[in-house]
Symmetry: C2
Subunit: 107 residues, 2 copies
DNA sequence: GGATAAGTTCGATGAACGTCGTAGTTCGAC
DNA sequence: GTCGAACTACGACGTTCATCGAACTTATCC
């Protein structure tokens, strides 16, 4: 009740604020790596619930938050659904080759 | 006394055993990233003691062990000194662009 | 309005991690 | 043989991290 004023549209770091270490830390987890791979495999945005990872929904939220803070993924709210996408442009501009190298890995 | 039989020459993973996740985990630490940058900055091998990082020697040993197990650096023993070098060839073959992207980072 | 669906927030818990100091080993020099 | 240098191995300690369940918010649909 009475609570419809401020609603920060999420909060992502600007391109200049993204650090390698942050990105590497964000990618250094099997679940998050799986999420990034799934986002990279499609052209479209992906909803949280459409990700297939072996953890709870609250844990997915946590991982997406870390990926967002690191500047790896972007999130867009639409109704009760949050659409996520890879920040390819920014990552490629800052660390050319990094993302491709990670995605090229067979294991 | 009486202990001069087995002395494993260190133990590195074969190229096929290196995983992206292991490499990313290994790189996701400021001290280890600094070590990798110093190794990348020179053509020569670097002794543990010649690395300039703000931690104790035993901690350096620990970090180098992690980097070695992940397949990021190679170590060669010579007397009491251990010379370390980046496994550029292997990393570039497995994850083309990854290392360059990391090293290209301004921060 | 009520019900449902999609995410988030908030502890709590147990595991993994980075750091250090001390002790130990191995080699080279005296 | 003795000494020092270069690391390594082993505990120990404190912090960070991934995970979960339960409660909550917000929007959509009937």
């Amino acid at each position: 009740m009475a609570k419809t004023d401020t609603l920060p549209p999420i909060a992502h770091p600007a391109r200049e604020e993204i650090t390698v270490e942050g990105v590497l830390r964000a990618l250094a987890d099997p679940v998050r790596l799986a999420i990034v791979r799934q986002l990279a495999a499609t052209e479209h945005e992906v909803a949280c619930g459409a990700l297939t990872v072996p953890v709870t929904k609250s844990t997915i939220t946590h991982h997406l938050s870390i990926l967002r803070q690191a500047g790896v993924v972007a999130g867009r709210q639409e109704g009760t659904t949050r659409f996520n996408s890879l920040r390819r442009n920014d990552l490629d501009a800052l660390f050319p080759g990094l993302l491709n190298g990670v995605l090229a890995a067979q294991r």
